[in-house]
């Protein structure tokens, strides 16, 4: 058991590249460690450690536990969960945070059962109760209709998943020092029950990543048909924006599911979010409420999107969106 109490961030990497949410978790980890006096650590299942470790130090990790085993080259739930659980049982951290990614949301609930830990999904706020020594985990439920604060008083570690873009990144510098600790894991007893045969990336070349975007132009049912998404694409291209979409358009097959913004899609926090023909179901609003500025274009004056929009334009998106593009183009050249 470590003498110091530790807060761990699961350093998710894919093909040797750190997933963005890890930097965000470390940044919030810095805040929690200041309050709790815990040591901020990262846990990295990777063989090519050095460069990734430096990135983790730069965001505040004092220690990085690297899990070295050829079976951990790519994510496989049986191997990863066993390796993480072994290290947790050995070092007994107080808190473990995971990104609520397709990997984190599979790995964390598996590990929670292995190590007998509480787990809270998709937290949007994390705070520390100094008096009781509990992590205060706040998350939306009922599609964002209510917020609940959850504690895990009698089990350690306290574990939580957090979506991308919920916490701001806070990089300390590019030359922070930290300690890399190689941890052997024993996966000899884990049967090989599943094999990844293929991994395909199909992010379209002309559409930017929603998580990284400063500007997002999103289309909803009001766009009318899949072909008409071109006006959304065109405005996005003019602004250097990413393209988002509502549940209705994804369900109708007008646009690929990775464009989906909202409770069941991506949570976004751009500088400007432009909702075109999106009525604003609570599930969608839950995903966009961290945007700094929301512009809504909709022909229905009673659309709920106008309740949270900073600027609302009631009208036909087929007129307003191309006009917006035209005037932005003109503004650029003037």
């Amino acid at each position: 058991m470590s003498a110091e109490k530790e807060l761990w961030v699961y350093a998710e990497q894919r093909e040797g590249k750190m997933v963005g949410v890890v930097q965000e978790l470390l940044s919030q980890g810095q805040v929690l460690c200041e309050k709790s006096g815990y040591t901020l650590c990262a846990i990295l299942p990777s063989e090519n450690g050095a460069e990734l470790c430096q990135e983790l130090y730069n965001f505040g990790a004092e220690k990085v536990y690297t899990l070295d085993d050829p079976k951990l080259a790519d994510y496989q739930n049986d191997y990863y969960s066993r390796a993480v659980a072994q290290l947790i049982n050995e070092k007994r951290p107080e808190i473990v945070l995971y990104g609520a990614t397709s990997i984190g949301r599979s790995l964390a609930p598996t590990v929670a059962v292995m190590v007998n830990a509480g787990l809270t999904a998709d937290c949007t706020e994390l705070d520390f109760d100094v008096d009781e020594g509990n992590l205060l985990q706040t998350r939306p439920a009922f599609g964002g209709n209510i917020m609940a604060t959850i504690i895990c008083p009698n089990h350690r570690p306290q574990m939580a998943t957090v979506r991308a873009n919920v916490f701001k990144k806070n990089k300390r510098s590019s030359a922070e020092m930290g300690e890399q600790i190689s941890c052997p894991v024993d996966l000899s007893g884990v049967p090989e029950r599943m094999r990844r045969l293929e991994s395909v990336r199909e992010a379209p070349p002309n559409r930017m990543d929603l998580h990284a975007a400063q500007f997002i132009v999103s289309g909803g049912r009001g766009v009318g048909n899949p072909e008409n998404f071109k006006i959304i694409d065109d405005l996005a291209a003019e602004m250097g924006a990413a393209v988002g979409a509502s549940r209705a358009t994804v369900d109708a097959g007008w646009i690929a599911p990775h464009h989906l913004v909202g409770q069941t899609g991506k949570t976004v926090c751009p500088v400007v979010y432009i909702a075109c023909g999106i009525s604003g179901a609570i599930q969608h609003l839950a995903g966009i409420q961290r945007s700094e500025l929301i512009i809504a274009i909709n022909k229905d004056p009673d659309a709920p999107i106008f309740d949270i929009a900073d600027f609302g334009l009631i009208g036909d998106l087929n007129e307003l969106v191309p006009e917006f593009q035209k005037q932005i183009a003109a503004a650029k050249t003037s």
């Binding site: 049986d78 609930p109 787990l119 199909e202 992010a203 369900d251 949270i308 005037q327």
Partner: protein, 260 residues
């Protein structure tokens, strides 16, 4: 294949409102439905057994009225249903719920596949599937869009943030199914009638014999300590006029804020 589909009865969240004075959900009059994501798990089971034959058992843990969701699943074509319900299970978090579900599945013979919806629309945690799988020591894949049977293994297409993966997984296993997979078929009239009359066994602590310290609220590692309404920002400004004027005004405002 013998397939278990775990379903949850949820309030229809589109119709849930909040009492702003008490910050509590107005549950009265809100209809309960089978969790929409679970429909996709059920349809996947039905399609697999259309092709390969076998039995589909639906399980649901909840209060006695959750039986209604099981009857819905029977109407859509599931073969058998079991309700997992006991006052002692009340207040269970995802960990304790997963434990109870796993005990029920262990009692069933010859299960080849356990299916879940991607997540439930009330809690949105997506945790119960992977946790049940771990209690049962089954391999688990989440975000599954399609499955093909290939001998003793399953060929599974799993969607990721920016694409998809193809996995080969041994049976028995557990999968959580996404909405993109399919849409649930319309119930047949004869199934509807049979579902109304079906006898649905209820398993509680006497049948499942759980460890006393892993049940219900007391057996749950996590506790809810506060429930509150999200803050709503109300600062909207409507821009009116002809399209050209509206956009010109919008651009002026964005420039004012140094956004453009």
């Amino acid at each position: 294949m013998n397939i278990v589909v775990c379903i949850k009865q949820v309030p229809d969240s589109d119709k849930v409102t909040i009492d702003r004075a008490t910050n509590r959900l107005n549950r009265a009059g809100v209809p309960s439905i089978m969790n929409p994501f679970d429909e996709n798990a059920l349809e996947m089971a039905l399609q697999l057994n259309d092709e390969h034959g076998g039995k589909i058992m639906v399980l649901s843990m909840g209060p006695p009225q959750a039986e209604a969701a099981l009857r819905t699943a029977l109407a859509h074509g599931a073969d058998e249903a079991i309700l997992i319900s006991d006052r002692k299970f009340g207040g269970a978090d995802t960990w304790a719920t997963s434990y109870a579900l796993s005990l029920a599945i262990k009692k069933l013979e010859g299960v080849d596949l356990v299916l879940f919806g991607k997540q439930a629309i009330d809690g949105d945690t997506a945790q119960v599937g992977p946790s049940v799988a771990q209690f049962l020591d089954l391999p688990m894949l989440t975000y599954v869009k399609s499955v093909e049977v290939t001998g003793d293994t399953l060929n599974v297409n799993r969607i990721t943030e920016d694409g998809y993966e193809i996995w080969d997984v041994d049976k028995p296993c557990a999968l959580a199914v996404v909405k993109e997979a399919n849409s649930l078929r319309i119930p047949l009239f004869k199934n509807k009638m049979a579902a109304k009359k079906a006898v649905i066994p209820c398993w509680g602590v006497d049948e499942l014999k759980p460890a006393a310290d892993k049940v219900g609220l007391a057996g749950s590692p996590t506790n809810v300590v506060k429930v509150f309404a999200p803050s709503v920002k109300l600062k909207q400004e409507m821009i009116t006029g002809e399209p050209e004027e509206m956009i010109a005004e919008l651009i002026r405002k964005l420039k004012e804020r140094h956004i453009l």
